[in-house]
């Protein structure tokens, strides 16, 4: 459904991505791993049109999207949970969920406030609180809920559980598994190898702007020296 091929991105003169290839098939959970500064966020930003690639192509459901503005990419069915969550601080939790909500592809069972609150009960009590008064965990759940309210075909999470308490992390992984069970495709950046091995179908490891390794969960589990070589964990 998503097919990234040979994209290269530059910040000014310095090249950050050197021909990244990546694929997400319908219903799959795909992970993108790698040490800090290897180009994971840059890859996501290229896909979302926030930092369009200089060369290469990105196709979503067999339609090129790499020249589209980011709102058109989102409307094609991609939704982003960005690094740093980027909750609207001056809107209430509820307003954060409904401000950009949409059902553009006319889903039969669209996401609603009720469904989001059912998935994250902790959000319900905080629904009238401003975004900037929420805890990190609440903000991450809200960012996921906000993305789901656009009824995407593919959910992209940049740092799904970074900086969160263990209990909250577990809750986020449970949520992603539930979404996978509903056949939502997910592309997730995270450092938690064990959780990713459990729920992921396919894995990519980036090094210095290139895909250095890719394989399924069995291969990931069977190659312990990957950790040392590429992940530093």
């Amino acid at each position: 459904m998503l097919s990234v091929s040979k994209i290269e991105t530059f910040y000014g003169e310095s090249q950050v991505l050197f021909g990244v290839d990546l694929e997400v098939r319908a219903g799959q959970v795909v992970s993108l791993m790698g040490r800090n500064g290897m180009g994971k966020s840059t890859t996501i930003n290229a896909i979302m049109g926030l930092k369009p690639p200089r060369t290469g192509t990105i196709e979503f459901e067999n339609r090129p999207i790499h020249r589209l503005p980011s709102h058109a990419i989102a409307r094609a069915g991609l939704a982003l949970v960005p690094e740093g969550r980027q909750i609207f601080p001056n809107l209430t939790l509820r307003e954060n969920l409904i401000a950009t909500a949409a059902n553009r592809r006319k889903r039969r069972h669209p996401w609603t406030l009720e469904r989001v609150f059912a998935m994250f009960p902790a959000l319900f009590e905080r629904r009238d609180n401003r975004g900037d008064t929420l805890s990190g965990g609440e903000q991450q759940m809200l960012a996921i809920g906000r993305a789901l309210m656009t009824n995407p075909e593919l959910l992209i999470l940049d740092e799904a559980t970074e900086g969160l308490a263990p209990l909250i992390r577990a809750e986020i992984w449970t949520c992603l598994e539930a979404l996978k069970a509903q056949r939502l495709a997910i592309l997730v950046i995270d450092k938690n190898l064990r959780a990713l091995t459990r729920i992921g179908d396919w894995h990519y490891i980036m090094e210095k702007g290139r895909i250095a390794w890719s394989g399924d969960s069995a291969a990931l589990a069977a190659t312990p020296d990957l950790r040392l070589r590429y992940l530093g964990v």
């Binding site: 049109g49 926030l50 709102h71 960005p82 980027q86 609207f88 001056n90 401000a99 950009t100 553009r104």
Partner: protein, 308 residues
Amino acid sequence: MTWALLLEQFLNGFQLGVLLFLLAAGLTLVFGIMDLVNLAHGSLYMVGAFICATLTELTGSFGWGVLLALPATMAVGVIVEMTALRTLYARDHLDQVLATFGLILFFNELTRIVWGPEGMVIPLPAWLDGNVEILPGVHYPTFRMLIIAVGLGVAAALYVLVVKTRTGMLIRAGASNRAMIGALGVNIKTLFTAIFGLGAALAGLAGMMAGPIIEVSTGMGEEILILAFVVIVIGGIGSIRGAFIAALIVGLIDTMGRSFLDVLLSAAMSASAAETAAPALSAMLVYILMATVLFFRPQGLFPPHGRQ
């Protein structure tokens, strides 16, 4: 000084305040959300007044003139945004000041070509031309009362728009994080154009309300634009509520200062000294106020939340 005079000047100040608010509302949204310094906002005030004057002449009715001139001014605003201002969002403020100053010259010349150098008067219908008795024995022009009512009505409608509607949520969200609303599927260009069109219509409305009082002429937007900038700086750039409160304060202080400062000063100095000092000082009052506010609250009285 009588109580009747005091009340009258108070209402005059209030009326100037709501006019300033109509102008400042669009200015503060455009500055706060799109980070655009638009000196040409006063041109929309002027263009709105001219269009209204012509339409009033054609239809023979001030009411129709206003109703038709509103969408026309909005259309002018939308065209200006799409052709000229859109290219300026990414530029720095100095470029924006230069380019929108150019727009002022363009619009002043355009009105001279289209409407001639004379200026126009907007005649009021009989029912608006008289006075109402607001207190026993105290009369006040009906039209000025109408301006106050229109201004308060627009303020209430804007409040509902910004606080209660989804468009309002997007306006606020856009003020804190533009890139993110784009990544969530909102076309920011369209949103910006809509906000600008709304601001243009409000500026035009202010011009239409002022027209019957001050006469419609080329360059009428410049002086009041300076006051509108004072208002948004005092109120906090990007804040509608701040613009409303600051506009009333500025309108009242400016008007009351011009009327009563000499009386106040003569309590402290000789009558002739007070008479010479008062006009100079009253012209400066709002700037002194702005400097004081900036000293204690550099972000203005009501900075919108979530912006650095």
